[in-house]
Amino acid sequence: MKFKSLLLGACASVAMVASAQAVTLTIATVNNGDMIRMQKLTDDFKKQNPDIDLKWVTLEENVLRQRVTTDIATHGGQYDIMTIGNYEVPIWAKQDWLVQLDDLGDNYDADDILPSVKKSISVKDKLYAAPFYGESAFTMYRTDLFKKAGLEMPEKPTWEFIKKAADKITDKDKGIYGICLRGKAGWGENMAFVTALANSWGARWFDMDWKPQFDSDAWKGAAKFYVDLLKQDGPPGASSNGFNENLALFQSGKCGMWMDATVAASFISDPKESKVADSVGYALFPTHAKYDNHGNWLWSWNLAIPAGTKHEDAAKKFIAWATSKHYTDLVAQKDGWSNVPPGTRQSLYANKDYLDKAPFAKLTLQAMQAVNPNQPTVDKVPYKGSQFVSIPEFQAIGTAVGQQFSAAVAGQTSVDQALQNSQQLTTREMTKAGYIK
């Protein structure tokens, strides 16, 4: 009897110790190829950390944003690691909602992170997230159509050239459209492109007193150019085309040129998915003839730890693994170099194997290096951000302004009216939020 009791007691103690040591991390993430691949490769992490279990919550980007924002704002504590964009990082870090990530281990090599990306996820030079994958924007075009039209794409095209080329390539009878651009309303849809275009045109969202600038000549020029270009050389229904719709159009051979996120290059150059994979060329995001500004588009998906998590150390271990050079090598070994998450580390762009497999890599790096999130346009701005303004109000304002631009592309309103409405609604919201005194 005594022996039995002892045995039971020992078993209970072992169970208690085991349960005390086992940690389960809940990770909220977006549904994209790189993130899904990471979930498949976590056996490598578990081998190194048998005491850490992982639970995944994968959601669509906008749903995820709403979910994690609710959770972090209410200190819900449902997640130990969150996947967030470089839009959220500075806003949340300033609210003390995120754990600082300057101590990810001796082998982490944080200095290897691309400076523009690092800058966009740091506050007062302190890192608050670790980048998992990053992107800028550039020009993708059909080399066969350019050849047929007797055109040659410069490495640094201007908008003036793009317009001429689009006019020449467009053949509506054959269903070929010179240009495909985002027109679907949304701060992360058409306004990402329109803001980058405006940056290259020398326009800015706000002056140093937070006064909206849609009544400036720069905005008028950029907006008129965008709307006219899409109306003349864009596909029908361009006002409802976002990234995915344009991707489908480009892959099926309907677009001559497409300016969008660099991540698109891996899709359109994949012969399994794209009909035009063997005739795609790349160039930098176009500039206005007057300025050397390539739009300053910069987006990164980052892993961050919400303040108050009970498993901070384990979460840091996971983030250090998922955003390390070792992880890059692991992906290359298992799935090939072309599937490595791009746009975060300088060392990747010095790797010959990667450069051989990704013909768009050099331009991606060039585009990302050119980005300065603290000075996205010609004049000084009071905000941080590139194709967005990193303030909490921007999601609502950006989407409302996006609706105005979308309506102008659809022909429901004039460009002047759309700009006037944008100026009014942005002024109203910024005044309400206390930016304008």
């Binding site: 449902q78 849809e189 009909k275």
Partner: protein, 276 residues
């Protein structure tokens, strides 16, 4: 005596009925077909209706990528649990309002319905904070209660409508024979209202199964039902329509099959008392 309807009119109405049914069913059919296409085929212009290379690869990938049985189990527990709990609360409430009305009954009914007019997001944060404080975030029990509360006005209203059709004299006769209130509800009222209760049950299971706002916002990895499962296959960057269609088909198939087999009961219940 029933009026005879000319044959030509019968045929016309039959054709119209089929066309309307096809129109309503088309999105589901298209989702089903897309789930067997490749991602490239799914966005092909012009779209291919039946003549494409059918593939089951999307189902395989969806199955591999997520824990479907857990999502499915959560959907079953949440939808059935909330409906049964709702019926337990709603049957006595509807009985009271149908057979023992006061001058405020109508107001109470209208007030109950008015709660459905409040945008759900308006109470998200208070409910989220409450569940956090009581430690019920991401639990099935919280979802069962929330779903029950959301659908309760509809359950009460439906049952109230059915109960009103039952003659009060029968209940009175039972009372004169010595039936207590409980016995009256269990042995007299409930069996007579079975078609109505069954259709209320089915409709609420469907509503709870399809509810996406609360089920996505209040869950993470433990209690997430099939609505969250679908949400995990959508993406703003990258083509996903075929996989999303496969996930949607897997999510709606159980409730579609349930609706198919119980359609007679559902229609009988929904038209209960409509024709006198």
């Amino acid at each position: 005596m029933a009026r005879s309807v000319p044959q030509s009119r019968k045929i016309t109405f039959t054709i119209i009925a089929w066309l309307v049914a096809l129109l309503i069913f088309f999105p589901i059919l298209w989702t089903f077909l897309t789930s067997f296409k490749t991602e490239g085929e799914a966005v092909a212009v012009p779209p291919h209706f039946l003549f494409f290379d059918w593939t089951s690869v999307n189902y395989e990938q969806v199955w591999d990528r997520s824990n479907y049985p857990l999502f499915f189990l959560n959907s079953v527990v949440i939808s059935i649990g909330s409906t049964v709990l709702g019926l337990v609360v709603a049957i006595p409430a509807a009985w009271a309002m149908a057979f023992s009305p006061t001058k405020h009954t109508k107001d109470v009914l209208m007030w109950m319905l008015s709660t459905k007019m409040l945008p759900a997001v308006g109470v998200l944060v208070p409910i989220y904070l409450f569940l956090r404080n009581v430690g019920l975030l991401d639990t099935r029990i919280a979802l069962v209660v929330i779903m029950m509360l959301i659908n309760l006005p509809i359950i009460v209203w439906m049952l109230f409508t059915y109960f009103k059709e039952i003659p009060g004299d029968i209940l009175e006769a039972a009372r004169m024979d010595g039936a207590t209130l409980g016995k009256e509800i269990v042995y007299i009222l409930t069996p007579m209202a079975i078609p109505g209760i069954a259709s209320t049950l089915l409709l609420n299971v469907i509503l709870a199964w399809n509810e996406a706002f609360w089920t996505i916002n209040l869950t993470a990895s433990n209690a997430a039902p099939l609505t969250a499962f679908i949400a995990s296959f959508s993406a703003p960057e990258g083509l996903f329509y075929a996989k999303l269609s496969a996930a949607s088909t897997m999510a709606i198939a159980p409730i579609l099959i349930l609706g198919w087999f119980s359609q007679k009961q559902l229609v009988r219940g929904l038209t209960f008392g409509a024709v006198k």
